[in-house]
């Protein structure tokens, strides 16, 4: 198991929390993103995730490095699952430990925002009557980041 990884099996979130725990950690935040049944009134049957795996793992590690620079003393682990996921399955897990809780919350939320900006992972939603690749509409693609 790696600290920043793309996996194609069921995610066990506790493993990532364990990876960041240290005697100096007073707080651990663990975020899990799950497949939601309903999005904007449309019922999802399942999701399919694809990644550019080596670059995605590199970008997850970059996010971890950004966090350790921005919130000194924190430690981060992130995993994202690819393939077909059913309702309630975990797509992503983010674990952050920190001496104090404030940084653990802030850094964790920063990680999910950055994943949605820079990590080459794509989600396809499959409904009863169709399917679609989902692009983050807030961030128009530019030449570079």
């Amino acid at each position: 198991m790696k600290t920043f990884e793309i996996v194609s099996h069921k995610i066990e979130p506790q493993q990532y929390a364990d990876m960041v725990l240290r005697p100096e950690a007073g707080a651990v935040t663990l975020f899990t993103g799950h497949v939601r049944e309903w999005t904007k009134g449309v019922k999802t049957l399942y999701l399919s995730y694809e990644a550019y795996i080596p670059m995605a793992e590199k970008k997850l590690a970059q996010i971890g490095a950004e966090i350790e620079e921005q919130w000194p003393g924190t430690k981060t682990a992130i995993a994202h699952r690819i393939g077909e996921l059913a309702i309630s399955d975990i797509a992503v897990v983010i674990a952050v430990s920190s001496p104090h809780r404030k940084a653990a919350y802030e850094a964790n939320e920063y990680a999910i925002e950055r994943i949605k900006e820079i990590v080459p992972i794509w989600k396809k939603e499959i409904w009863e009557d169709g399917e679609e690749w989902i692009g983050d509409q807030k961030k128009k693609p530019g030449g570079a980041v």
Binding site: K58, K116, V119, I121, D136, K140, G142, A144
Partner: protein, 77 residues
């Protein structure tokens, strides 16, 4: 030769996950011209380009053995 990767919706549009292209010495901007001529449905600017797993600028130059990838808007999480 360089390697070109396509992902998600772009892969469905090109019908291939990856291919070789004779673009050594060309820029990322020229890669865009090449791909939009080969696959008329692809609009320049509809994706970011990564070279060797880092986001690249239009003026970046490709070298033999480079791995380029078209990165459509990401939607992980």
């Amino acid at each position: 030769m360089i390697t070109v990767h396509y992902f998600a919706g772009l892969k469905e549009l090109t019908g291939v996950a990856q291919e070789q292209a004779d673009l050594s010495g060309r820029t990322v901007e020229e890669l865009w011209q090449w791909v939009s001529e080969k696959y008329p449905g692809i609009e320049a600017g509809a994706a970011r380009v990564a070279v060797n797993e880092e986001y690249a600028l239009p003026e970046d130059r490709l070298e033999t053995g480079d791995v380029a990838a078209f990165i459509p808007p990401v939607s992980g999480g």
